[in-house]
């Protein structure tokens, strides 16, 4: 009985964590495991279907798709990590401040956050990218900013719950200062929910980055990214569907497994939800 329960609780993480690890590994070891140079042109093997020499085929310039898909994972992972870091840092800071000060500070901050939250994310990202200039660095920044309201709201909600707990009152009675109160009492309680949100945000960041690249506003060719590969493949979809299929599948698997990982983390960190 207990065994079964544990499997229920940890199952999703156990299944998705290896996939996620594999994506990270591919990104980290890209130059080692990619069979070809992702930039190497070979006009003799243009638009070749998946086969012995090129497992996932070649694109319109004879570049190896598999190698490009592997290398492109780097852009996605880095953008995802940095954007989530920006969003989480900014959001947690604002959320803690709002919860701590309450009153006018709280309402102004959260009202502002709510308005930003209302914006269609992709629209805001597209506009920011258009003006900051199309580069991977700016993509991280644009996507990171979009995540701030979500993390802020989450953090504020959790921090407010914590502030009502008796142990916090006890800490205040003991004369614990505000900074220590935040770092020792509030933040440790915030980390769990923020982690769950981070996994989901990461998958969304990867999705947004590829959407930007797809529109030509993210990673610039010849640098491979899943988004710009799918876009290039669109022009050859009739004769060489693998050009779009392969990066799309990689993107989809990454996003899907991160979302499932988020669900799994929720099961692990908040077992109440399962009862």
């Amino acid at each position: 009985m207990i065994r079964q329960l544990n499997w229920r609780r940890y199952g999703l993480v156990a299944v998705t964590l290896p996939v996620v690890a594999l994506v990270f590994l591919a990104a980290a070891l890209a130059p080692v495991i990619a069979p070809y140079d992702p930039f190497e042109l070979d006009v003799l093997v243009m638009l070749q279907g998946p086969g012995e020499n090129h497992l996932l085929g070649t694109d319109e310039l004879g570049r190896d798709i598999l190698s490009r898909v592997i290398h492109a994972s780097r852009v996605s992972i880095v953008v995802g990590l940095v954007a989530v870091a920006i969003g989480a840092t900014g959001g947690v800071l604002i959320g803690v401040l709002a919860a701590h000060f309450g009153g006018a500070v709280d309402s102004v901050l959260m009202r502002f956050m709510e308005i930003v939250f209302c914006f269609p994310a992709i629209l805001l990202a597209v506009i920011l990218m258009a003006n900051l200039g199309t580069s991977v660095l700016n993509a991280m920044l644009a996507i990171g900013i979009i995540f701030i309201p979500g993390f802020a709201r989450l953090t504020r909600a959790v921090a407010q719950t914590v502030q009502r707990q008796p142990f916090l009152e006890a800490a205040i009675c003991l004369g614990v200062g505000p900074l220590r109160l935040v770092t020792r009492e509030i933040l440790p309680n915030v980390i769990g929910p923020v982690l769950v949100e981070a996994a989901v945000a990461f998958s969304y960041a990867v999705l947004l980055e590829s959407a930007l690249s797809f529109l030509g506003l993210g990673a610039q060719p010849p640098e491979p990214s899943w988004g710009n590969m799918i876009n290039t493949g669109r022009g050859f979809i009739d004769q060489a569907p693998w050009i779009s299929l392969a990066p799309g599948a990689a993107l989809f698997i990454t996003v899907f497994s991160f979302n499932l990982l988020g669900d799994g983390l929720r099961d692990v960190l908040d077992p109440k939800l399962h009862d």
């Binding site: 209302c118 914006f119 629209l123 597209v126 506009i127 920011l128 900051l132 506003l217 979809i237 993107l251």
Partner: protein
Amino acid sequence: MLALVFWRLASFIPTLIVASAILFVAVNVVPGSAALSALGIHATPQALKRFEHQHGLDRPLAVQYVEWAGKALQGDFGTSFQNAVPVGPEVRKRIPVTLQLAGMAFVVAIVLAIPLGVVAGFRHQTGTDGVVTTLATLFGSTPNFWLATLLIWFFSLKMGWLPTGGYIPFGEDPAGNLERMLLPCIALGVVSSGLLIRIMRTAVIEVMSSNFIETARSKGVGDLRLVSFHVLRNALIPFFTVSAVEFGFLVGSVVIIEDVFRIPGIGSLVLVGIINRDYPVLLAAAMTVTVIVLIVNLIVDLAAQVIDPRQVRTGHGS
């Protein structure tokens, strides 16, 4: 009740002001880039100065914003940098296109979400629930532009059943319009249903735990009647309130989908504005999309309070 409605309407104004200000700043975040992109990198400093002066770009941003907002309220979005054509009429012409696309896509999402969400919620904690929840995650994880590409590849190019894109107004040729709208709506709707299924599931679970369900059950009400009479009616209200957020995401995604299917809506106008660095066009298009999202949120808020006063929404649930 009336006071509440009034309060909601009143709080819409500052929201609109802040939202438009954010957009204005986002568009003008890099000073001087408008002139540079309109005239090209070889423009002389004098020409750039003249252009900026002509379009009032050399004034403080706050002044520019107030002037732009004042005119925008009267439907005047200025003229395009690119071809000096007034932007307002162009935007108005495109609004119905985007609304039709977003509306139909939302219907696709709802048609998928309600039955699946009800099944998952009703069979909470069973294998069926697990399958549906995973399916919801699967739908939500699909990149809509990739799905769109695959749909075109299969249904248009391989099977030849549907056109690859384009747009015909419904009034001119209803069949041709629907034929072209079908694939974009599926691409948008299926992805959006991911979140909606979860929202419906949660709403059903909530209702299922109510006392009146227990009462109905003990009176011998069958499953089918229970779902259709008691559960569905009560779950739909929170479902629609929360799903308004997803409608916002959906309208945003229109930017990409309109590009893929070459649909001349507001979304593709945003991209036109970006590619041409045509700031009046970009601002007007982006503002229109944002206002659509805000108004939908407002209507849902108000409707929810009128239908069910218990639903006082404090934030946008997720």
